[in-house]
Amino acid sequence: MSTTARTAAPTSGRSGIRGGETASGWIFTAPMIILLGLFLVIPVLMALWVSVSDWTGRGSPFAGSVQYVGLDNYSALLGGGGLAEQDFGTALRNNAWYVLLVVPIQTGLSLLLAVLVNRQILRGRGFFRTAFYFPSVTSSVAITVLWLFLFSSTGAVNKLLSFIGVNGPNWFNDPSGVLHNILGVFGVQTGPAALTGNTFLGISFWEWLAGPSVAMSAFILMAVFTTSGTFMLLFIAALQNLSGEVTEAAMMDGANGWQRFWRVTLPQLRPTLFTVLTLGLIGSWQVFDQIYTGTQGGPGKTTLTPAYLSYQTAFNNQAWGQGAAIAFILFVIIVFFTLFQRWLLAERQVSNRRMRPYLPSATLPTPTLPTTTAGGTK
């Protein structure tokens, strides 16, 4: 935290110009406390109650007629054997593939864009940055509408593919899994019994391994298109904060551009990389707007995501308890992956430190990281 906070610790003896600050402090923060409390903290607590109740959306969830049902809503999702479990499993599978593809691609692409645009001598830097960033400012609804057109069966993308002799799929109406399609090319139509016979969360392992559907792939491309610009800005800022000395030292030692990037620049970008991966992970587990606008979970439920399923279960099917339960499970998933990733990256940092004595000192990244881009809390 800030230094001002620390110097202010012994407040007891203060008076004079600091007098009356307790009152104004609370008055100044009161609007924020009330608004965030009323529309963030209390709602979460209410939803927690709803997720363990049988409320059907009529009247108040605190009315006497609403019963406590324990963890029934959660167990129906995680092992009920019914449609609820199957839908939840499907939504998780869809979103897991989405995350698995979107996060690495958007991180890699935004880093590439940042490195390309960050050249010292480059004409039209501003133009390129603007071009790459512009999709990020538009609303997800507007982009989805555009995407529905570009990826329609007679749309621009298929037209473009036809120029190189590819017969494009009917993107948003194609429920087939990409990995299954690739296997199909090699003549594999059905999976081994070990995969098709056993299920997890209501769907078979073979279905888990279907890959994103063709429809979901279009959304994956859209996510990369709209987020890479934002993350590019984060990387550009980090690159501009790097000291040139280390790179120069590496250059003197005869490292080529490729080595300099992987051995010198990239390690110094670790904090930003962490931020980008974390934000990407958090964002890509919350796919909602695109699905609501575009496909409503179809075709064949292959673009169903936990966030959309939660909304649909509560608002359309009036199964509020189950909808809230899905939201909380999603919350746990997001927290888990964020912590897991933090642990993973922290671990590697330690092993780097252990390696240090064994590496030639000149090519090493400085251990002091740019202060402005220290690791994220988010």
Binding site: M1, T22, S24, T130, A131, S139
Partner: protein
């Protein structure tokens, strides 16, 4: 978090100043490398821009033209039918108006409440400040989509469902904005305020007439973020309202897209609606382009 911590007020970056100094003679291999770099950049830029050009072009096409020539950037016959229908024959103007109302109030609210709270957390010394700050961090980490059902429950319980109050009030402050303001206030020297205090100005007076004017760069960031955030917001309005008179652009265009209001594909109509919807944020973007490009977390879209 740290990315938020960055003071977004850096003037010109050093590299920009260096750029004009001198341009040494380069060997041929470097020239080839440079050409390759430009080629890659131009192709990438085209991929990023082309969809928007196609969008604008298609919005001026007829339905048949849009279906048969999805890629052409020039309509066979220019048609403004889509725009006429949107403005004269649909609820589109109402949607636009609602989005504008919400955006103005939310932006004003965030500028005021975020800076008020940010200032208190950065500068005022009071018991409980650290607790409030810790809670703020905790609140920031709650993913928005998880709040869909919870928000509806509270809005319903308070009896404000399907009103402007439900659309605006819950958005009036945001944890990330408070955080940005707090970091900004910590980055400016306290001496000016101390002087005013010694001269006998009250806390609010100091905040309003001395601190706030100095905070212009950070306030611009808040304005950009909240304008963009509330103009593009969808899920909150889905759970807060249901009546057609309170439909915002995002909600309305989403219903257009899913074909609830139209027959056939009607791509020119939908794309025209999406294009108009993009104009205000695009204008905002080009006005504040320099600032957005220099501030790292300019608009982290989730």
């Amino acid at each position: 978090m740290s990315t938020l911590e960055r003071a977004r007020v850096r003037p010109t970056s050093p590299s920009r100043r260096l750029r004009h100094l001198s341009r040494p003679q380069l060997p041929t291999s470097a020239v080839a490398g440079r050409s390759l770099l430009y080629a890659i950049l131009v192709v990438l830029a085209m991929i990023y821009i082309a969809p928007f050009l196609v969008q604008v072009a298609t919005s001026f096409k007829t339905d048949a033209d849009a279906a048969s020539n999805p890629m052409s950037l020039l309509p066979q016959t220019w048609s403004t039918a889509a725009y006429e229908r949107l403005f004269l024959n649909s609820d589109f103007p109402v949607w636009f108006q609602n989005s504008a109302i919400v955006t103005v109030f939310v932006t004003l609210g965030r500028v005021f409440f975020n800076s008020l709270a940010g200032y208190a957390l950065a500068r005022l010394h009071f018991r409980g400040r650290n607790v409030i700050f810790a809670l703020l961090i905790a609140v920031m980490s709650v993913p928005g989509v998880v709040l869909l059902i919870p928000k509806f429950l509270v809005i319903n319980q308070l009896g404000i469902y399907d009103t402007y109050v439900a659309m605006i009030v819950p958005l009036l402050t945001d944890a990330a904005g408070v955080f940005i303001m707090k970091n900004f206030f910590e980055s400016i020297p306290a001496s000016v305020e101390e002087q005013a205090r010694i001269d006998g100005a009250g806390t609010f007076r100091v905040f309003w007439s001395i601190v706030l004017p100095m905070a212009r760069p950070a306030l611009v960031t808040i304005i950009i973020l909240s304008f963009q955030g509330s103009w593009n917001e969808l899920s909150h309005f889905i759970v807060a309202t249901q009546s057609p008179e309170l439909t915002t652009l995002t909600k309305g265009v989403a219903s257009l897209a899913s074909g609830q209001l139209s027959q056939g594909t009607q791509y020119p109509l939908k794309l025209a609606a999406a294009a108009i919807m993009t104009i205000p944020v695009a204008v905002m973007f080009f006005i504040f382009q320099k600032r957005i490009m220099n501030s790292t977390d300019g608009a982290v879209k989730e």
